[in-house]
């Protein structure tokens, strides 16, 4: 058995284990929608933490972080992790706890139910439905692209006669299909409880295996000190936020050596992060306030106090997950094999493959297979929750909301929800085949930009009595309109590839979109009639 076949064996065993968890959790299924979609609101603090964290971390955190660190250096940690460490917890505390309490009090199972009630508007749900589904798709896309890329890279050599084009590796199209199919299956068996259990297992797997990966790769590179020293000599700008003239000189010198054939590693061009760009990443973490799949997990909490552990431990778990990936991505810029050849080839088409390549070439075969299981764990723990939430919002906000209660049997309602989920999964899979070269990191930032632009709506709904129905419409429509225009502009300019970050007036597009949506909501709310007293009493009067 060669190393590729061993990796296939480990991955297959892992996927079978996930299916078993789904089947096992099905034995606890009580047969009600509340149990399928919110686990009868009975999840304790530890499983809540694991499922919320596992859901938030996807291939963006594993594949995207290492790819971006390889491309642009350590700045990715500050852009994403330390901002998120602060503001994810702020959102869990200010938004999650309150929404959980309203969900408990009024029986909400989806975000749209809350917004319909809060703004006394049925049609607002029809506006939010495509917005939320449309934003979950790129999130799913990141997962499928990341998982399929990782499997294709790590299984090279497994079946050379069968898959010549990928040097024997399981091809992207097959790996993506299998990952989608397995996730859909265990989700359909176990509902949100199955997803929460699987997420707990998978979060433990990817945090532990991430640290193991780090230790193994560091050891193969001569230890962490030697690995960082190698980067300092070849690509010093990758170890800081801003490049200097001295870094440019080092780059020119190293490039001359590479072109003369005296050095085997091609240096990376020094990358400068403008302070305004670094700062405006502050808006990205507010996206969690509007993730529908996260809302679903919030509602599963047995008690409001369960959120305490999430608020405290989430930044620590993020740090434990991202730090090894960022360091491995930076080390990859200067990593050499024992024979002196570069680990990452000079001509690399797709930076998403950096981490799988480091694992494939540097880790022992069995550990390599386990590490890919860890990568899959991070990805599938998000995919499962997103599939569940798609079924939930379609079932609750469209089918149950618009079709009279007795016209469809319970079984048919669930079947419709599952069919909708399968359709979205197929669309996502086809999009993944078309956009496999897109940077997972860039794709993620755009997806989070969309969700963050809707965050002013949920903050206002919970904390600003004066926000009106018309203000809510203005917020969503502006977020959609401005976001779509910026995305099309960015896609036409960069195709979401390459080293260049798309900026508007020198700042991240998310800053423009959040500002526009907030302004539209405030101005329109102040120009329109305040909400009725009974609505305000329902959401702002002290709870009895």
């Amino acid at each position: 058995m060669n190393s590729g076949q061993l990796a296939v064996g480990v991955i297959a065993a892992y996927l079978v284990l996930l299916l078993a968890i789904g089947v096992l959790s099905n034995r606890f299924f009580r047969g009600t929608a509340a149990d399928y979609f919110v686990a009868s609101r009975g999840i304790g603090p530890f499983v809540l933490l694991m499922s919320v964290f596992g859901t938030t971390m996807t291939s963006f955190a594993i594949i995207g972080s290492s790819a971006e660190a390889f491309t642009a250096g350590i700045g990715v940690y500050g852009k994403m992790v330390s901002w998120s460490g602060i503001f994810h917890s702020v959102c869990f505390f200010l938004i999650g706890v309150r929404l959980w309490a309203f969900g408990k009090r009024y029986g909400y199972q989806t975000q749209i139910q809350f917004f319909r009630d809060r703004f006394d508007s049925d049609k607002l749900g029809l506006l939010l439905f495509p917005a939320l589904v449309g934003l979950v798709v790129p999130y799913l896309l990141m997962g499928v692209i990341g998982a399929a890329t990782a499997i294709e890279s790590i299984t090279v050599g497994a079946f050379p006669a069968l898959f010549e084009a990928t040097k024997g590796g399981i091809p992207f199209w097959l790996a993506g299909a299998v990952v989608c199919l397995v996730t859909l299956t265990y989700v359909f068996f176990g509902g949100v409880r199955g997803a929460a259990w699987a997420n707990t297992f998978q979060t433990l797997v990817f945090v532990v295996l991430g640290i193991v990966t780090f230790a193994v790769i560091a050891d193969r590179l001569g230890g962490p000190v030697a690995a960082t020293r190698q980067v300092a000599e070849l690509n010093p700008a990758h170890l800081k936020l801003g490049a200097t003239e001295a870094d440019e000189q080092v780059f020119r010198q190293r490039m001359a050596e590479f072109e003369a054939g005296t050095s085997k590693i091609k240096p990376r061009h020094p990358h400068e992060i403008p302070p305004a760009v670094f700062f405006t990443y502050i808006f990205i973490p507010f996206s969690v306030a509007m993730f529908p799949h996260l809302f679903q997990h919030w509602l599963t909490a047995r008690s409001g106090k369960s959120f305490g552990l999430v608020v405290v431990a989430h930044p620590l778990l993020m740090m434990l997950t991202w730090l090894p990936c960022v360091l491995i991505g930076v080390w990859a810029t200067a990593a050499l094999m024992p024979d002196g050849s570069p680990v990452i080839p000079a001509k690399l088409d797709n930076a998403n493959a950096v981490l799988p390549m480091m694992v494939n070439k540097l880790a022992p075969t069995v550990i390599g297979g386990l590490l890919v299981a860890g990568v899959l764990a991070a990805i599938m723990s998000s995919l499962d929750s997103q599939f569940i939430c798609l079924g939930s919002i379609f079932t609750n906000d469209i089918v149950n909301h618009y079709i009279e209660k007795d016209r469809l049997s319970d079984r048919n309602v669930l079947l419709l929800g599952r069919m909708f989920t399968v359709i979205v999964a197929v669309v996502t899979y086809l999009l993944a085949l078309l956009t496999r070269q897109a940077s997972v990191f860039r794709l993620g930032v755009w997806c989070f930009t969309g969700f963050a632009s809707l965050a002013p709506l949920v903050f206002a709904a919970l904390y600003w009595k004066r926000v009106t129905k018309a203000g809510a419409y203005a917020c969503v429509l502006t977020a959609w309109g401005v976001g779509a225009a910026l995305f099309i502009w960015a896609y036409a300019t960069t195709e979401l590839k390459g080293d260049q970050e798309f900026l508007v007036w020198g700042v991240m597009p998310v800053a423009i979109n959040v500002a526009a949506a907030t302004l539209a909501m405030i101005v329109v709310s102040l120009l329109t009639r305040p909400p009725p007293r009974e609505t305000l009493d329902k959401f702002f009067a002290p709870a009895k």
């Binding site: 009600t32 929608a33 509340a34 149990d35 399928y36 609101r41 350590i74 940690y77 500050g78 992790v81 330390s82 901002w83 460490g85 602060i86 917890s89 702020v90 505390f93 706890v97 309150r98 959980w100 309490a101 408990k104 009090r105 009024y106 029986g107 199972q109 139910q113 962490p224 000190v225 960082t228 010093p236 800081k240 936020l241 801003g242 490049a243 302070p275 670094f278 700062f279 047995r302 008690s303 409001g304 106090k305 959120f307 608020v311 405290v312 431990a313 930044p315 620590l316 730090l323 960022v326 360091l327 609750n396 149950n400 909301h401 209660k405 319970d410 309602v413 002290p542 709870a543 009895k544």
Partner: protein, 81 residues
């Protein structure tokens, strides 16, 4: 205490910008973590501490009411499966 938490959040935002390490990577913490990266790891740790203070001293009162009523049936909306 609420205002202390706000002040700490503001401090974290200011510290995040990290101008002082922008153009240097040394000292390498533990010999391998660039100082700018270590600074941001410190912010992650500090965020957990501030979160802990918020949970301990600023917990929203209405949530406890929802908690105390959790034995009662939550009115699930159109609960069908």
């Amino acid at each position: 205490m609420k205002y202390v938490i706000y002040a700490l959040l503001l401090l974290l935002i200011v510290l995040h910008q990290d101008f002082w390490n922008w153009h240097r990577y040394e000292p390498l913490i533990f010999g391998f973590i660039p100082v700018g990266l270590a600074h941001h790891v410190g912010i992650s740790l500090a965020a957990a501490v501030v979160g802990g203070l918020a949970v301990k001293y600023c917990w929203p009162a209405g949530v406890d009411v929802a908690d105390s009523a959790r034995a009662a049936n939550t009115p699930e909306r159109k609960g069908r499966a």
